[in-house]
């Protein structure tokens, strides 16, 4: 059963780390040199990175879920 508690804890860590990446690395990024498209490109790239992070988050959690499920069945 402790694996499920570990799952909750990993999710919590991922939320904190994800927030940290968002604020300290992604948010300060600025795109320039494209004139009037600067702000659109800036927002688009930031949104894309955020989506990639969410996909990575879901991928990690899916792997943990499968590991817990198989471990529980084996026990």
């Amino acid at each position: 059963m402790k694996e499920i508690f570990l799952f909750v804890f990993v999710m919590w860590v991922l939320i904190i780390v994800g927030g940290g990446l968002l604020i300290s690395i992604i948010a300060p990024l600025t795109i320039s040199g494209y004139g009037k498209f600067d702000s659109i490109l800036d927002s688009g790239i930031k949104a894309l990175i955020a989506i990639i992070l969410v996909i990575a988050w879901i991928f990690i959690l899916s792997k943990i879920k499968n590991w817990i499920f198989h471990k529980q069945i084996k026990n």
Binding site: F9, I23, A27, K65, Q72, N75
Partner: protein, 330 residues
């Protein structure tokens, strides 16, 4: 400060006793009108009255209206309107079988008063790292938040007492967190949610005398979502809700689409000969939190409920730790 303490005691008492007193009348009324459903996990399949949403709403409305008389703020108004709209959505779903997309869309519409009343700050606060300003994205987050919290609580309402017990733990964790970050007004407004859930748990716990139904679960979940937005504690609220989020995540990652629970063809849980709950061996059945808990072996319904409550307490502690971490900056 003393007046706020007195008011906190008053709204908590109103919230608790209005549900505690009205629910037995609701149970009798539902039984009279034959509005009952079978409890498949109980030996003999007892018929249980449903929905308990009306008594939950009475508790929330009476206590929040009392608070509004003393503190007429837009935030309390947003809580009242959005929660009531979510109740209506749930009540429609209790009476009619609607498609999987009905609830998320209708709940998203229920979130509009939060935007119209301007009761949000378009910043997302993270522990240790500070805040990020997302003006346009935040409006999408508001629209997204109410369906997510509503359906998350609804999806965990699978065993006797779990939804109300879980909500009691999560909402008290949210109230404590709001006090920690010095948001006393919203902390006060969040108290009724915990006390309404606690009073309803008395009748919902194993063996259930009433089920909350979609109207009850969506009302509780939507109010939790509004509190997270108007209290500016979105991340803390998400952490306190983690076991239910995991349940939704497991379900969605296994069925890979948004569907109503009634549309599931294979039940993730079956029964042993002595009527304990057991994880199904059917590979087509969705993976849920209960199935994951039961994967190690059969348990009674009460035992599974206690495991979920232990998980809730664990995530409630993490939410409170997160609230403390909000004051720390790297």
């Amino acid at each position: 400060m003393l007046d706020k303490i007195i008011l906190a005691i008053l709204v908590s008492a109103i919230a608790f006793f209005s549900v505690y007193i009205t629910t037995p009348f609701l149970i009798k009324g539902l039984e009279k009108r034959n509005l009952t459903v079978k409890d498949y996990n109980r030996v003999g399949g007892a018929m249980v009255p449903r929905p308990g949403g009306p008594s939950i709403l009475v508790g929330i409305l009476t206590s929040e209206f009392t608070l509004y008389v003393f503190f007429p703020t837009a935030e309390i108004l947003a809580i009242l309107i959005t929660t009531s709209l979510a109740f209506v959505v749930g009540l429609i779903d209790d009476r009619k079988v609607l498609g999987g997309w009905f609830k998320p869309v209708a709940l998203a519409i229920s979130a509009i008063p939060i935007i119209l009343l301007g009761t949000y700050i378009p910043h997302l606060s993270f522990p240790l790292f500070g805040t990020v300003k997302i003006p346009e994205l935040y409006i999408a987050l508001v629209i997204f938040m109410i369906p997510v919290t509503g359906n998350t609580i609804n999806s965990i309402d699978v065993l006797n007492g779990v939804a109300s017990g879980f909500m009691t733990i999560a909402s008290f964790a949210l109230t404590i967190s709001l006090f920690i970050i010095h948001n006393y007004d919203i902390a006060l407004a969040s108290l009724p949610l915990g006390f309404v859930s606690l009073a309803f748990y008395k009748y919902h716990k194993f063996p259930s005398k009433i089920f909350p139904g979609d109207s009850g679960a969506l009302t509780l979940g939507a109010m939790y979502g509004v509190l997270a937005i108007v209290g500016h504690v979105e991340i803390i609220a998400a952490v306190a809700l983690l076991p239910a989020v995991i349940n939704s995540f497991l379900f969605l990652s296994s069925v890979k689409r948004i569907i109503e629970h009634r549309q599931i063809k294979s039940n993730p849980v079956t029964h042993t000969d002595d009527f304990k709950l057991m994880a199904t061996t059917n590979k087509d059945a969705p993976i849920t939190l209960v199935r994951l808990i039961l994967a190690s072996g059969p348990m009674t319904e009460k035992q599974v409920g206690l495991v979920i409550f232990r998980l809730s307490i664990f995530s409630a502690v993490l939410a409170i730790v997160t609230a403390f971490m909000m004051g720390v900056k790297i």
